[in-house]
Structure formats: structure tokens, C-alpha cells
């Protein structure tokens, strides 16, 4: 019984190229089972965990590696905990937020983009923005309702010559605009990096003069899902009827940049819109937006018919 379990454990670690002397496994199992009366299953688990710690292997790597990873496209990632292969280009590298993360950013293929996290302990080669790679054995996961992939020590990354075209898939969303967030309306951007300034300060370049821009960070809600939307200057002008020049004038007259936001909020909030554009992280980058009609023809009749069954 103990011999069998020991053999299993030895083979399982062997698959990860880790050789553990079988008598060491056996003696640990024996001690737990015979001396301390631990049930066989618990003993198995405890011994495996001991060696995982000893060899510094993440539990996730050990327990989910069974089965072949399938090769898929970015937009086919719809479940978490799956091992997949992707061919994709590095679209963006983001600022690293944690020491356990080596690199983080966005990769994409012709079907869309997805966030990736490359763990520091995975010891994988560095990725370069704009280059394309074959990512083997990466894991899908979901975080706050969005999918992402993680690259761990069993993953494999190979640079490829082919230049992958990152596709943007437009999505549609309709709902009521329930909030317009701070940092909307008339804003200033850093002339160096185009980042929005907060109180005249750029996160990267400190206090700068900046240039004016219009944008709206809106929250659209259909009663089931909350969708963040970013509206750029062009679409903002169309939607609100306020041009950048007019906005600047309004702000100068009132000596207050916030009046623009107030005007826009007054006009837009609480109304229904259909937005359309590519999805980026938690945002839809709005390319077109249109007010929705009172309701689609036949909708009320259809609802009534369903109720009166």
C-alpha cells in the first residue's frame, strides 16, 4: 500500500523532472501512516505538499498539469483554470506592481487582447513590446470577471518571426449612463506622455503645463452588468455638442474647469445609450454612441405575450 503510493508520487514528480529518492518518500509515508495513524489519503497529500515546498514548486503547477494544453485564440478563452497555447504579440507592458511578478501587460492575436501575468519565479525570458511569441502551457484565470493568462515555470515562450496583427473586436453594449467619473470633461494631458494630469501633475513627469483635451469616463449599466466606457474627444464633442474650444471658453468664463463636467453630466446622466467599440481591459473604447429610442417596436407586446401565457 505504502509502496504503491510512494511509487505514484515518485512518478508524478518525475514528470516535472524532479527525482526524489523513493525510500525517502516511503519513510515519510510510513511515519505518518503507521506511527501517527494518519489516513492514507491525508498522508499522500501531506507528503506531496512537503516535497512541493522542499523543491519550491507552486501547487497550481503540480495539480493542474495533467492533460495536453490545446492551441486556441484569445477570444476562445472563456473558462478559467485551463492550460492553453497561444500565438500572440505583446501589445503593452505595464508597470510592475509586485515583486512576485516579472512582467505584466497585454498580449493579443487577430481575435483580441488579453492581460497576462508572468511570475518572477517562472524564470521565463523577457518579453519585448511589439514582438510576437508562441506561448506554450499558459494558464487561463479570471479576476473580477475578466479573463487573463498566467505564465508559470512549466510554461514555455518562443519568439517567432511572424508579425501578428492584433485584431480589435468591436463590442456593443446598451444601458443607462449611471455615473460619470472624476477625470472626465475638460482635462489636461501631459505633453510628453499624453497621460491625464491630476491637479496639474503627471504621474510620470511631475508638474507640467499640459494641453487641454475632452473625454468622458462613463459607467453604463443595464441592470445586470456594469460596463466602464471611455469616450474620446471626437465622440465627446458629438455626444455633448460641446467642442473643445467651447469647453475652454466656458472654463475661462467661470474660472473653473469643472463647469464643463457639470454641463455634460446634466445632459447625459440617467439616459440610455448604445455604445460600440473595441474592448480594452475593463473599458469599451467608445467609437460610436447613440441615444436609444423609448423602446424597440414590439417589445412591450412581446413582454405582455410572455406574461399572459
Amino acid at each position: 500500500m505504502i509502496k504503491e503510493t510512494a511509487k505514484q508520487i515518485e512518478e508524478r514528480f518525475g514528470k516535472m523532472d524532479i527525482k526524489i529518492p523513493i525510500n525517502e518518500i516511503e519513510s515519510r509515508l510510513e511515519k505518518l501512516v503507521n506511527e501517527f495513524k494518519v489516513p492514507a489519503e491525508e498522508a499522500h497529500r501531506s507528503v506531496v505538499n512537503y516535497f512541493l515546498k522542499e523543491y519550491n514548486i507552486p501547487r497550481g503547477d503540480f495539480y493542474t498539469q495533467d492533460g495536453e494544453a490545446s492551441t486556441i485564440k484569445v477570444n476562445e478563452i472563456t473558462t478559467d483554470g485551463k492550460w492553453v497555447n497561444l500565438t500572440a504579440k505583446v501589445a503593452q507592458l505595464w508597470d510592475n506592481t509586485h515583486e512576485s511578478i516579472d512582467q505584466v501587460g497585454l498580449i493579443g492575436d487577430e481575435t483580441g487582447t488579453i492581460k497576462f501575468i508572468k511570475w518572477a519565479r517562472a524564470e521565463l525570458p523577457g518579453l519585448v513590446e511589439g514582438k510576437s511569441y508562441m506561448f506554450k502551457n499558459v494558464v487561463t484565470s479570471s479576476y473580477q470577471g475578466r479573463f487573463e493568462i498566467t505564465m508559470n515555470r512549466t510554461s514555455h515562450i518562443e519568439e517567432i518571426q511572424e508579425d501578428i496583427e492584433i485584431g480589435t473586436v468591436d463590442v456593443e453594449f446598451e444601458g443607462a449612463m449611471v455615473d460619470i467619473q472624476a477625470g472626465s470633461g475638460l482635462i489636461k494631458r501631459c505633453t510628453e506622455c499624453n497621460r491625464a494630469l491630476i491637479k496639474g501633475v503627471c504621474g510620470e513627469h511631475g508638474k507640467v503645463e499640459g494641453t487641454y483635451d475632452l473625454r468622458i469616463k462613463a459607467v453604463i449599466d443595464d441592470g445586470l452588468i456594469v460596463q466602464d466606457a471611455l469616450v474620446n474627444r471626437e465622440v465627446t464633442e458629438q455626444l455633448t455638442g460641446i467642442t473643445l474650444d467651447e469647453a475652454k471658453q466656458m472654463a475661462t468664463q467661470e474660472l473653473n474647469q469643472e463647469v464643463v463636467l457639470e454641463k455634460m453630466t446634466e445632459k447625459l446622466l440617467g439616459k440610455y445609450y448604445l455604445i460600440n467599440g473595441p474592448r480594452l481591459d475593463r473599458y469599451i473604447l467608445v467609437e460610436t454612441v447613440s441615444p436609444l429610442p423609448p423602446m424597440e417596436a414590439g417589445k412591450v407586446d412581446a413582454l405582455l405575450a410572455e406574461l399572459e401565457v
Binding site: 506592481t97 449611471v178 440617467g270 412591450v300 405582455l304
Partner: protein, 188 residues
């Protein structure tokens, strides 16, 4: 940086169902954990979106302004309270004239009277004037969402189960409410 916090959905609930709601709770004991109100058809509401007709408003504050407003939909009325902690909403209500179509994003709040009745009201985050088209769309949408909840009420989602156990929900009452609300739309 992406925040850890994910925003609560603004649920669509008719006034009649809102008035019938009296089960409010938190998911954990943490003082910052959000407060929810569960409605008879199983909406677990921390935020709601309402469009209706402002019919009455009154400043009932003694020192500072404290506005009470009545907002009517096809099934009944919502009571809205806005004071110093909802400065923007309070100012907006102060400037409005009834009757008007308004849209409200707000949080449900409950009050238990001495004889044990639970009264529901809404603390607005924002209040804005809208048009009749928006109001029509809201009625149709709220009917749709309510119907979806009714259809799921016999399922085993935690919210549906809890709603069934607490309210012993009489589905036909709410179906009739939807029929009445929608019929009003077809007559316009």
C-alpha cells in the same frame, strides 16, 4: 491602477416591489461590507436606477436642508431623501419643479417603525431631469428585468432561494403588476 473594488450593479425594481421589500442584510460582519435589500422577486439591491415622475418635494429639514421627494412609476411611489450627505442630489432636487421626469441613481434604505413595519426609501447619489422617452424605456426595461427574476425565482440561486423563503412570493401578484405597467405603455 485597476482598483480592487468592483462597482455594484444598479438594479431595476418597480415601486410596488420596492415597497414590499423588508429584508436587508450584509454579506459579512465587516463594517465596510455593503448593505443589501432583497426584494420579493430576488433582486439583491445595493444600488438602483429609477426613472419616474417627481410629483411632490418638500424641504423637511430644520437647520440644514433635507429634501423628501416622491417619485412615481406605473406601480406606485418611491420616497427619496436627500440631505447634507447627498449634496449634489439635494441641490438638484431643490432646483427642480414638480411635475418632471427624473432619473435617480441611489441606494436603498430601510426604516422600521414602532409597530414593526419596514418602510423603504432611496438615498440618491445623483438626480437628473430626463425626457419621456427615457421614462418609457425604463418601464419596459424594468418589466423585462423583473420578469427575468420571476422566471429564475424557482431556481436554486442563493438570492432566489432566500427571497422565496422570506417572502413566500406570490408570483401572480407581480406578474399582474407587470401587465398593468406595460398596458399603460401601449395606451400612450
Amino acid at each position: 491602477m485597476a482598483s480592487q473594488y468592483s462597482r455594484e450593479v444598479a438594479h431595476r425594481v418597480f415601486a410596488q416591489e420596492f415597497r414590499d421589500s423588508d429584508l436587508s442584510f450584509k454579506d459579512s460582519n465587516d463594517q465596510y461590507s455593503p448593505q443589501y435589500l432583497l426584494t420579493p422577486t430576488g433582486a439583491k439591491v445595493n444600488r438602483m436606477f429609477i426613472v419616474g415622475t417627481l410629483t411632490e418635494k418638500e424641504d423637511i429639514g430644520t437647520d440644514a436642508e433635507y429634501w423628501r421627494a416622491r417619485v412615481v412609476d406605473p406601480t406606485g411611489a418611491f420616497i427619496i431623501y436627500a440631505g447634507q450627505y447627498q449634496p449634489e442630489a439635494a441641490r438638484a432636487i431643490a432646483e427642480m419643479e414638480a411635475p418632471a421626469y427624473i432619473a435617480i441613481v441611489g441606494k436603498p434604505s430601510t426604516y422600521q417603525t414602532e409597530d414593526g413595519n419596514v418602510l423603504t426609501s432611496v438615498r440618491p447619489e445623483s438626480v437628473h431631469i430626463v425626457d419621456e422617452a427615457t421614462r418609457q424605456r425604463w418601464v419596459a426595461e424594468t418589466a423585462q428585468r423583473t420578469m427575468e427574476r420571476i422566471n429564475n425565482l424557482n431556481g436554486n440561486s442563493p438570492d432566489a432561494t432566500k427571497a422565496r423563503e422570506h417572502y413566500n412570493t406570490e408570483v401572480s401578484v407581480y406578474k399582474q403588476m407587470l401587465v398593468d405597467a406595460l398596458k399603460e405603455q401601449t395606451q400612450e
